[in-house]
């Protein structure tokens, strides 16, 4: 069991809290005089809390073992497909991108059977389109 994962996440928390405290919160919060609670009080308090917790996690790590890096890479791949799908959706619309997103995902998962691929890439998007546009009468993205 390696405490490396906790040390890394602890350090990351410390760095994030420093960035929050000295850069993000002062730059992106508009402070106005008056009132009982300044807009920066809660975020600053949380940043301080995160820093203390980050130091504690770094110094006293648990035996938590994260998954293998290959799992992270695979998750990143799927997240990338979704992000690309979102980008494409913003340009050509969900109706045209949904079958492609479904097809890419199913193939990546390992599906090679045409009936299931047809169900996922054609039937499911069509059913979603009918339900959202005609039954719920809402626009698709």
């Amino acid at each position: 069991m390696s405490p490396l994962a906790d040390r890394c996440s602890g350090l990351f928390l410390v760095l994030c809290s420093l960035a929050l405290f000295f850069w993000i919160i002062p730059t992106y919060t508009e402070v106005r005089d008056g009132g009982w609670l300044s807009p920066t009080t809660i975020p600053n308090s949380i940043a301080a809390l995160l820093m203390v917790c980050g130091i504690l996690i770094t110094l006293r790590p648990t035996d938590h073992v994260p998954p293998h890096w290959q799992e992270f890479a695979r998750a990143g791949l799927y997240a990338g497909v979704l992000a690309a799908g979102l980008w494409a959706t913003s340009w050509v619309g969900f109706v045209y991108t949904a079958p492609v997103i479904a097809f890419v995902l199913m193939v990546l998962i390992g599906e090679r059977r045409w009936p299931w691929l047809g169900l996922g890439c054609v039937v499911a998007p069509v059913v979603i389109w009918i339900v959202v546009v005609y039954v719920l009468q809402r626009p698709l993205p």
Partner: protein, 498 residues
């Protein structure tokens, strides 16, 4: 009062509500039966689709999904030893061995009956105690509410996950992201990074669906290595007595189910202790008190009854802190709170006064969901058994498309979907590094109320925190929060040394 109760129940028992509860229970049982989806994910995806509905049918539908999911979750646990929901893991201990003996229907039916029994028990407790508790809660002011939230956060941080510090981090992150938007006192922009879409804060459906549904799907997908799951291969004996649960068998488990329901209700009323813990505690206590403990783990009906009655009774009890104090005890309760807020209903003790009819309508819908769970479970069990064999490729790809559409409907565009993807990645990373998404979400939901309660407390105490000694209830709650945090830290350290 009686008129409100009767009007609420009359509102619930209409054909429209019956339809939505039935649809919710069927969907819940379906998604529960599919390993990897589960009722929480289904609720998160379904919330945007309920926007067009009136409040009661929308909430009744979500309650139906939640209750149905617990019944459905037992099916894959029993048949393929893969719990559809984490709380069904204890059910698999005896359910799967019984299925392997050629009695899968007996095992699933026992799970169904004990689940409905436990659920009904906790609903009765909820209906009886929530109104008096809400009257008590109404006496609490902003100072007490602030102290109560601190207490809830400390208990949540300690009980969910295996590290108190990581629990605090998750709560802190939830509060931090909740602070994005306009500051509640001065209404000045805070941490919106030039995106005026964020002026009202991060969209709740994007955060909930991203962290609960997409991150879980990413986690599942990252573990698939290009092979499809095998279908269920369990044979039945064919004997009629092995395909049903007799009244004698059911009645023989009455004390087991009662114990399970009591454990589940008690633990469910406390924030943070999920149905998984309740199921295992009930299972362990039943085994410890059994005349023949050696039969447990080999297909004992008492084992199934203990686990299922306990995990299902948590659902109703989870709503006790939600309806009386406005504090969600679990993610499913947090999703119900968000659905209530989306429909313009502010949860908390005033709910019984301002929306009494709606609450009693909700209680009526819960009772209806229990009956429908039983009826639909009896009819649908054979079908849900087939559902277990559906390939993950289709389940996950369709679920992802529904998440896109659901969030777009809720937030009105691709910006909400982008936020959803960001939170999916955050949820995935947090889960894999041992930070609880449950605590994050509950803190995120409570964040704005937490800040307002601090602001109001400061106004009441004229900016002097020492005046908290004038509020004995708040003081007791803060002391309890500190004591429980220290006690849980000490327990953690003791476990580490062992």
């Amino acid at each position: 009062m009686l008129a409100t109760v009767l009007a609420g129940f009359a509102d619930a028992f209409t054909l429209v509500n019956l339809f939505f509860v039935l649809f919710g229970v069927a969907l819940g049982q379906f998604v529960g039966a599919v390993p990897g989806i589960g009722p929480v994910m289904a609720m998160a995806i379904a919330i945007p689709f309920t926007f067009g509905l009136d409040t009661l049918p929308a909430i009744a539908f979500l309650v139906g999904v939640n209750k149905g999911g617990l019944v459905g979750g037992a099916v894959p646990a029993i048949l393929i030893n893969t719990p559809g929901t984490p709380d069904a893991a204890a059910t698999a201990l005896d359910g799967h061995p019984l299925a392997r003996q050629g009695k899968p229907l007996k095992a699933t039916k026992m799970a169904l009956f004990s689940s409905v029994t436990g659920d009904t028990f906790s609903d009765i407790i909820l209906i009886t105690v929530s109104a008096p508790l809400a009257i008590l809660a109404l006496r609490m002011g902003p100072v007490e509410i602030f102290a109560l939230m601190i207490f809830a956060f400390s208990v949540l941080a300690a009980l969910v996950g295996n590290s108190l510090v990581k629990g605090i981090v998750a709560a802190g992150l939830g509060l931090l992201f909740a602070s994005i938007g306009s500051d509640p006192e001065n209404y000045t922009p805070r941490l919106i990074f030039g995106h005026f879409e964020l002026f009202d804060g991060l969209p709740l459906p994007s955060v909930a669906i991203g962290m609960l549904a997409i991150s879980e799907i990413l986690r599942r997908l990252s573990r698939i290595k290009g092979t499809m799951r095998r279908a269920v291969e369990i044979e039945e004996t064919g004997r009629p007595e092995d395909q049903r649960v007799s009244w004698r068998e059911y009645w023989g488990c009455r004390f087991t189910m009662l114990r399970g329901a009591m454990i589940g209700t008690l633990l469910g009323a406390l924030p943070g202790i999920g149905s998984t813990a309740a199921a295992f505690i009930s299972y362990a206590s039943t085994k410890a008190g059994a005349k023949k403990p050696e039969t447990f783990g080999k297909g004992d009906l008492h084992g199934i009854a203990a686990a299922e009655s306990a995990n299902s009774s948590v659902v109703g009890a989870n709503l006790i802190p939600l309806l009386t104090l406005g504090i969600p005890g679990s993610v499913s309760a947090a999703l119900i709170i968000s659905a209530l807020m989306i429909h313009g209903v502010q949860p908390g003790p005033l709910l019984f006064e301002s929306q009494g009819r709606l609450i009693y309508g909700l209680f009526g819908a819960m009772i209806m969901a229990n009956v429908l769970n039983l009826v639909l479970g009896q009819i649908g069990l054979r079908f849900w058994v087939k559902v277990v064999t559906a390939p993950e490729s289709i389940i996950f790809s369709v679920a992802l498309l529904l998440c896109f559409v659901g969030v777009s409907m809720a937030t009105g565009g691709v910006f909400g979907i982008a936020i959803m993807l960001l939170f999916a990645v955050l949820g995935y990373v947090m889960t894999n590094f041992g930070y609880s998404v449950v605590i994050f979400l509950i803190a995120f939901f409570l964040g704005p109320r937490f800040e307002i309660s601090i602001s109001q407390s400061l106004a009441l105490m004229n900016g002097d925190w020492m005046r908290i000694i004038e509020y004995p209830v708040a003081l007791i709650l803060l002391v309890l929060a500190a004591v429980s945090a220290v006690w849980f830290l000490w327990q953690n350290r003791k476990q580490e040394e062992l």
